[in-house]
């Protein structure tokens, strides 16, 4: 694995040398268009170029697309913005309900205290996901905080009287070759993105995921929350297959010095 990893890393690096050298020589930086338009954007760009993965969409025995794989997805910190592999909704602020407007500013970022990121911020994160598709369910594995989530595709409905949770309850249905994931049952403890766009416990997330070929997922997320927004809005992304990656370990509270040493303090209770 290590050999493969480094071979791929070097292969990716050598592929980038021609375009990257001018940047190193202090000439105006021009990143390869297919990789990243804004070098300072970190994992909004691709960390390294994914290996070429040409081929048709793989399929399950029942003929449905198989979404399985390790996927590198864009780091979506602010769902108003357009960046490589992500297209935002620029007018979120115009869609606020009075409650949304009153709660638009986050006083502190709960994730600094190692609380769960919640559903939308987990797939917004800079760390990859692995999708494991089985008959009747799709298992979402997030490297961010090494957590998981189930999407039930066996035809069940959302349970009645769901207790609110950080990740909600997800069911998936196929619309042709597109998986439509419907998630409800959220608590009101999270934010939609790092920027801090708010939501209520009425949040309803709809994702449409299409494996357009072997190496790519077309992904869009619709935020439907009548408590915070006057109408639904959308964020559109492209994910890249990383057959050269395994999910790695990540945890939040091993050495969270920012909190342990008091660099970050919660706001005083009102």
């Amino acid at each position: 694995m290590q050999n493969l990893f480094f071979r791929t890393l070097l292969l990716g690096a050598s592929g980038l040398v021609l375009t990257a050298v001018p940047a190193l020589a202090q000439a105006p930086a021009k990143a390869p268009a297919a990789t990243c338009e804004r070098p300072a954007e970190g994992f909004g760009c691709l960390a390294s170029r994914p290996p070429a993965t040409n081929g048709p969409t793989p399929r399950m025995a029942d003929g449905k697309p198989d979404l399985s794989g390790v996927w590198q997805h864009p780091f979506v910190q602010d769902m108003t913005r357009d960046l490589p592999d992500q297209k935002g909704e620029p007018n979120i602020a115009q869609l606020f309900t009075p409650w949304g407007k009153a709660n638009a500013v986050e006083e502190f970022d709960y994730t600094a205290f190692c609380l769960p990121l919640g559903y939308t911020r987990s797939i917004n994160s800079p760390m990859p996901i692995e999708i494991e598709q089985r008959p009747g369910r799709i298992v979402m594995l997030y490297e961010m905080n090494n957590t998981f989530h189930m999407i039930y595709t066996d035809g069940r409905a959302h349970p009645k009287d769901l207790e609110p949770t950080w990740f909600g309850h997800s069911i998936g249905k196929w619309d042709g070759d597109t998986l439509v994931v419907d998630t409800v049952g959220f608590n009101d403890q999270t934010r939609i993105d790092t920027q801090g766009h708010p939501h209520t416990d009425k949040l309803h997330v709809i994702e449409r995921i299409t494996r357009t070929d072997l190496g790519h997922l077309s992904y869009d997320m619709t935020i439907d929350d009548p408590g915070a927004y006057t109408k639904p809005w959308k964020n559109v992304r492209t994910f890249h297959l990383r057959p050269d990656w395994e999910l790695l370990e990540y945890n939040c509270n091993e050495n969270n010095k920012e909190v342990m040493e008091g660099h970050l303090k919660p706001p005083a209770k009102k």
Partner: protein, 133 residues
């Protein structure tokens, strides 16, 4: 695993030119102050290869000759590894030049956006300072 550290550090340096810094688990602005950019050089005294951030510490001498130990935050191991670094890519005793941002609380705590060895190789660079604008 035949490749030497220098080889992949070079590869990583090349990648960094297009990849930029890594990210943290929360917003940069929660802890660090974008209006307090800092540049300093010093000698590495300790490395913590840990989650949710790796940290390293450098002794920095001021104009009067007083030495202070600065705490420097960088990305977590998973992100550093994918950028080509290993725990020993930066060593105690290395002299490094650092660009970063000071913590809002005014302590000698910094988010590092760039860490450069004397030979020009970049290591461990990984704050989310430039992402969170």
């Amino acid at each position: 695993m035949k490749l030497k550290v220098a080889s992949f550090a070079f590869a990583a340096g090349v990648l960094l030119a297009v990849a930029g810094p890594a990210a943290a688990h929360h917003s940069f602005a929660a802890v660090f102050d974008r209006n307090q950019p800092a540049k300093f050089s010093g000698v590495v005294t300790k490395i913590e290869w840990s989650n949710p951030h790796a940290w390293f510490y450098v002794d920095v001498k001021d104009d009067a000759g007083h030495v202070k130990n600065y705490a420097c935050e960088t990305g977590p191991p998973n992100i550093l590894i994918r950028n080509g670094w290993r725990k020993d890519s930066l060593k105690v005793g290395d002299t490094v030049s650092i660009s970063g941002y000071r913590a809002k609380d005014g302590t000698d705590t910094f988010s590092t956006s760039e860490v450069v060895l004397p030979d020009g190789r970049k290591v461990f660079s990984g704050s989310n300072a430039d992402e969170d604008k």
